[in-house]
């Protein structure tokens, strides 16, 4: 049995990629293995851990719960697209570095994308709102305290309080 392939144009971090994938190919796998954007990590493959979160038209999505063929016509942002245009770390990335918001780094890309979307919606979160913002992502290393601090710091950096 030969699996039929579908031609799909994926627009990721502003760049269009033409790929041919089976209908069942997960977006997470297409990003990682077809496009070689391996910054998006897969932690559970059932949408619970949030490590694979990417932005689809600016909204956080679990890329393990989305098929690549359904991502045509969407603007996708992965962790590789979060740096500033000049190549320096983006606000959320910088905040994680300053606040020791990561240890092994495996869940981190999903937090970075989630927080990027969260701060776009709520640029000035309280600590409680910061906690809520990341409450759907699992981390096994940090205990979350420093991630919450990173959210608050990222909000400051976005406001230009450097």
């Amino acid at each position: 049995m030969t699996e039929s392939l579908h031609a799909v144009r994926l627009t990721v971090n502003g760049v269009a990629h033409d790929v041919e994938v089976p209908a069942r190919r997960l977006l997470s796998d297409a990003l990682r293995h077809e496009l070689r954007l391996t910054g998006t990590h897969v932690g559970c493959e059932h949408g619970v851990c949030g490590a694979c979160t990417v932005l689809v038209d600016g909204r956080p999505m679990r890329s393990c719960l989305m098929l690549a063929v359904s991502a045509v016509d969407a603007e996708i942002t992965t962790v590789e697209g979060l740096a500033e245009p000049d190549g320096s770390l983006g606000a959320v990335q910088q905040a994680f570095k300053e606040c020791h918001g990561l240890q092994c780094g495996f869940c981190t890309p999903g937090f970075l994308t989630t927080i990027t979307a969260g701060l776009a919606e709520n640029p000035d979160p309280t600590r409680e709102e910061a906690r809520e913002m990341i409450a759907g992502n699992l981390c096994r290393c940090t205990g979350y305290q420093n991630i919450i601090a990173s959210v608050c710091r990222a909000a400051e950096l976005r406001r230009g309080d450097r």
């Binding site: 049995m1 030969t2 699996e3 089976p22 069942r24 190919r25 990682r32 293995h33 070689r36 954007l37 391996t38 910054g39 998006t40 990590h41 897969v42 932690g43 559970c44 493959e45 059932h46 619970v48 851990c49 490590a51 992965t78 962790v79 590789e80 979060l82 740096a83 770390l89 990335q93 994680f96 570095k97 300053e98 020791h100 990561l102 240890q103 092994c104 780094g105 495996f106 869940c107 981190t108 890309p109 970075l112 600590r127 906690r131 809520e132 990341i134 409450a135 759907g136 992502n137 699992l138 981390c139 096994r140 290393c141 940090t142 205990g143 979350y144 305290q145 420093n146 991630i147 919450i148």
Partner: protein, 800 residues
């Protein structure tokens, strides 16, 4: 002027790469590699009567399929029993692919190699196995009853029985003015790193060498296992540990079947092969830990002083014992904590069940031991009507009693001798930090509002930095850049940063010029691994020693070049100069050129070196006792472990209606000797506490009577999110340096998780006034506990 970096909160050099999505974890490597999927037993206990792989061969994209019958030589033998012990009289290990029988649901039965994981999984679903299902042994009670056996030739399911002690505990208990007995249980949990296991292998037919990347906590261990099992010379195998998405113990277990099968397939097929474990596989085929049933008998005096302590416990080791008795031995020895019972006896049985194997998970048997001891301390305090801190205080080993010899043998086979600590000082700090003395007024206040609150504490001592050794190699390049190689692996602890801090200080070079590589057997072939809170102590010490050696050589060469005495020289910012005379010196990179008599002038440093003369022209260019290059290499091998310690306290609120358990305050006092990087240490504590909260309140492995793991997903196994952990953790450090190593270090990696079950049990019991004897405790279990307690109280009333 170079500022000292030891003890500073230096930001991590690892981060920029990881934050940009430029980390390299196993599954990110070798694009285009063949991928494997493993057929795992659906039964907890069964005989395999036949396997039909024929339907698989027609699947397009399938390259190979393996069952036990395809294994030969050492691969057809059982997997290694890594750590034998005389008491492990009935050790058993599994085969890389099951032979004739399976003993847990999840055991590897067959492996398909295909063009993609999707195709490999399709193919696995087509394999037909004829099983004769056998009744399984699930849970410690069933194992103890021994009516059914996991292994036919292991009577009573007892893998091992070990007894240790000092003094006549039973006589001491019998003679004691007061006696208590406690029956306790702790359920299973697991490391559950965000990245599961993974292995990639590439065979080079031209050089006849095998390159393996594995998500492991020991690359040297995997290397030796692969070479032995595949019949290769050790020199033909290189193992690299790339970025690892968390370990927490499960990845120190090795070799996993796939760590051998993947290289085997790569050699046979002549193409790179990759295994990436999925989440369900991780739950049902990677190791668990914690599950124990314990019985404590204790005799004590009016002050609560432990006169005799006798502990018996039953440890569920799962279906096999590849990691020996490490976990129960640690429970049995570390149970003693900061206390000195006059007489102690401990007996354990390590029991087989038809469940996933049990090997160390962060804490490695200590959480269970601390739970047993601290529950006992609380029970004594309740019995005597004393403050719980007072009962602990009278039993503390005092600061002037170090080194303190317990008269027992520790996990490393060495005497259990504590090196340093100040437990009374730690307790004072903890009481201040959590507000112990003010708690009663808070309780009254809360009670007035209809709220129920409780406070708990737990103390532990943790043997860290177990041997036998770790090494470090340092090479100063002609650019002045310092390349450091350590052999153990890293999985998020910030080793690249912490060890660079040590090198920068010891060698007098800018932090930015130091680059640390870990877990690459090509760079450091002798190493043990990252476990038992040993990396900072072991590799940190080795790095310091190697840096000192490098410094000595640099000063010797520079003294000759500068025509100065070695003692008059200093190294500042990578420049060697006469003390107090800036501008007179020679760059470390130039010294690196001078250290190598082969002087092709490749770079500026080489040209600069021509102005200096070193070496006696009448002697060989490399002296008899010297080597070319500005390098240092040394190993640190301690005579015994160093003992870190700590105390946690928590204030909880339990909902009178719903029995929901809320954390109001969490406090940690921690003594890991001198700190290299307090930011990293605090991060380790935060993470450990979160795992501890999971283990105390949420996580359990829900096996049914058939040995099926019912909650093998993140949907059903409740790992804490940000909403479940304390909002903040108050941390205070006490630094009692270890006298056993050059930097006075003690380990910190596991500390946060060790007292969790104990501290939550203590606080919930305090809030409820009902003895807590089983952990973890969920709201529904607390609710049940209340009902049972009320029912018992009512019956008692009726009878009287």
């Amino acid at each position: 002027m170079t500022t000292k970096l030891m003890g500073e909160k230096v930001r991590r050099v690892e981060d920029a790469r990881l934050l940009r999505g430029e980390g390299r974890y196993v599954d990110d490597l070798a694009p285009g590699a063949l991928e494997v999927a493993v057929l795992r037993s659906p039964h907890a206990h069964a005989r395999i009567k036949g396997i039909d792989v024929d339907p698989v061969l027609d699947v397009e994209g399938v390259v190979a399929v393996y069952t036990y019958d395809d294994l030969s030589g050492p691969m057809a033998e059982p997997l290694p029993l890594l750590i034998p012990h005389p008491a492990l009289t009935h050790g058993r290990t599994q085969y890389a692919l099951a032979k004739d029988e399976v003993n847990y649901a999840g055991e590897a039965v067959a492996m398909v190699v295909a063009e993609s994981r999707y195709v490999a999984e399709d193919a696995v679903a087509l394999i037909r196995v004829d099983y004769e299902v056998l009744p399984p042994v699930v849970g410690i009670d069933a194992a103890r009853r021994g009516e059914r056996l996991v292994h036919e030739d292991v009577p009573g399911n007892v893998a091992a029985r070990l007894e240790q002690g000092s003094g006549d505990a039973e006589a001491a208990i019998a003679a004691a003015p007061h006696r208590l007995s406690l029956d306790l249980t702790v359920e299973r949990s697991a490391s559950t790193p965000m990245e599961g296991r993974g292995t990639v292998a590439r065979w080079d037919p031209d050089t006849k060498r095998l390159l393996v990347w594995s998500s492991t906590q020991t690359s040297t261990g995997v290397r030796a296992a692969v070479a032995t099992k595949l019949g290769l010379g050790l020199g033909q195998v290189d193992v690299i540990t790339p970025d690892v998405g968390g370990g927490f113990g499960v990845k120190i277990m090795h070799p996993w079947p796939e760590e051998l099968l993947v290289p085997m397939a790569a050699m046979a097929l002549g193409r790179p092969v990759k295994f990436t474990e999925d989440r369900r596989e991780h739950f049902i085929s990677s190791a668990h830990e914690r599950g124990q049933v314990q019985h404590v008998d204790v005799g004590f005096d009016e002050d609560g002083r432990l006169l005799g302590l006798s502990v018996e416990f039953w440890h569920d080791n799962g279906a096999y014992t590849p990691y020996g008795l490490i976990v129960p031995i640690i429970t049995s020895t570390q149970l003693l904590g900061p206390y000195k019972p006059r007489a102690y006896k401990v007996v354990f049985e390590s029991l087989y069940t038809n469940t996933v194997i049990v090997t160390p998970y962060r804490g490695a048997g200590r959480p269970q031991g601390v739970y047993a001891m601290e529950r006992t301390m609380d029970a004594i305090a309740a019995y005597l009507g004393k403050d719980r801190t007072e009962v602990r205080s009278v039993n503390f080993i005092q600061p002037d009693e170090f080194p303190y010899d317990h008269g027992m043998t520790f996990q490393d086979g060495r005497p259990l001798i504590y090196d340093s600590g100040d437990y009374p000082a730690s307790l004072e700090k903890l009481k201040a930090l959590v507000g112990w003395d003010e708690f009663e007024s808070f309780r009254q206040e809360a009670r007035g509002e209809g709220r129920r609150v409780g406070i708990g504490l737990a103390c532990y001592v943790e043997g860290t930095g177990v041997g036998p050794y770790e090494g470090a190699h340092i090479n100063v390049e002609t650019t002045g850049k310092v390349k450091v190689a350590i052999g153990l692996t890293t999985q998020g602890q910030g080793h690249q940063t912490a060890f660079a801090q040590i090198v920068a200080d010891e060698l007098g070079v800018p932090f930015e010029d130091v680059e640390v590589t870990s877990g690459d057997t090509r760079r450091m072939p002798y190493a043990v691994g990252t476990f038992a809170s040993r990396a900072a102590v072991m590799s940190g010490s080795a790095v310091a020693l190697a840096a000192r050696q490098t410094r000595t050589k640099a000063l010797r060469i520079a003294a000759e070049a500068l025509e100065a005495a070695e003692d008059d020289l200093e190294i500042v910012d990578g420049q060697i100069r006469v003390k107090g005379a800036p501008g007179t010196g020679i760059a470390l990179g130039t010294v690196a050129v001078l250290s190598n008599p082969l002087r092709y002038a490749f770079d500026e440093a080489s040209k600069l070196a021509t102005q200096f003369v070193v070496g006696d022209p009448t002697k060989p260019p490399v002296a008899e006792d010297d080597e070319p290059g500005l390098e240092g290499k040394d190993f640190y091998s301690p005579e015994r472990s160093t003992f870190a310690n700590g105390m946690h306290a928590v204030i909880v609120e339990t909902d009178p209606e719903t029995a929901e358990i809320k954390i109001l305050k969490y406090a940690v006092v921690h003594d890991c000797g001198n700190l290299i990087n307090p930011m990293i240490v605090e991060g380790q504590i935060h993470g450990g506490v979160a795992q501890g909260v999971g283990g105390a309140l949420y996580e359990r492995m829900a096996y049914d009577a058939n040995g099926q793991l019912l909650n093998a997903s993140f949907m059903d196994f409740l790992m804490p999110y940000a909403t479940e952990v304390p909002e903040s953790i108050d941390i205070d450090h006490l630094e009692t340096p270890s006298p056993l190593n050059p930097l006075g270090l003690k380990g910190a990696g596991e500390a946060g998780v060790i007292p969790s079950a104990a501290v939550f049990a203590s606080a919930i019991e305090d809030a409820e006034g009902i003895p807590v004897r089983a952990m973890p405790i969920s709201p529904s279990e607390l609710f049940e506990l209340r009902r049972t307690h009320q029912h018992e109280a009512d019956q008692h009333e009726e009878q009287s």
